[in-house]
Symmetry: C2
Subunit: 175 residues, 2 copies
Amino acid sequence: VTTKDSFIYIFSGDGKGKTTAALGQAIRARGHGWRVLIVQFIKEAPSGEVESLTKMGVEIFPMGLGFVGAAKDKRSFEEHQQEARRAFDFTRDKVRGGGYDLLILDEINVAVDLGLLEEKEVLKFLKERPKGLNVILTGRKAPKNLIKIANLVTEMKEIKHPFAQGEKSRSGLDY
Amino acid sequence: VTTKDSFIYIFSGDGKGKTTAALGQAIRARGHGWRVLIVQFIKEAPSGEVESLTKMGVEIFPMGLGFVGAAKDKRSFEEHQQEARRAFDFTRDKVRGGGYDLLILDEINVAVDLGLLEEKEVLKFLKERPKGLNVILTGRKAPKNLIKIANLVTEMKEIKHPFAQGEKSRSGLDY
């Protein structure tokens, strides 16, 4: 499937629903026979979605070392940076191979915001991407220059969240 | 799979990502072996996601007559109301049958906001739902009393949208 034009979507903000909205887009796209590639920055542990999406023919690669500065985080900034670059190089190679209709760069906004990736190399990648490749970027604090070149931007705004009330994250809903 | 407690999530707001976030939750839940039921209010035409989700073992039922008051809408308000009630009764029956871990009521906020369904009957249903049944409600203009009883609420806020710039909706991305 090749579309004439292609779009850049950004799902940002502090509320729940950014990654899941991107995953929903992946399902929808698959339903139309699109080839979909998902590369997950930051995230490490395989979550519930990986198996389901793989079954549907979506290529999904969790390639992070976990949240930077999280309580259990024992990695140095340099290690996180190395891993983010590895994931980004991997993405470039896969995309160069061609044939994808939708690329989801999960949590890449965070990777750029933290300085794990350079904003300018992400911008360059987006501008030079193959014709017809739609891209979705997710994560908090989407950099302004990415927002500028995006066609659609939604801010997921937290109105109410159980974690704020001391609840723990739950298998099935949160990962 | 039965969980001890269960949550109510609401995805509302005018931005893109409400339904797709709910669909992403469905995939994640399926990945953990949850039984998932999706009833789509308002929406009529089968969209890209239906086939993909069905393949994954998600039960999904589009049960609307299209957007009320849309340009092509030839139905009376009463017809839309009848259809929404039929979908709600269907949901109640399915849920009573039991065994679901996650129920997604897609666009139900809109159905309540338009008066196609009564807010109090939706509240009653949520309060009396089987133990362990997580529920996600999507759609613009979530009624205040639904927000009050929800555990998590995200407002999908439109920052930038191609439709606002005269673009048309696109197969693969928008439906």
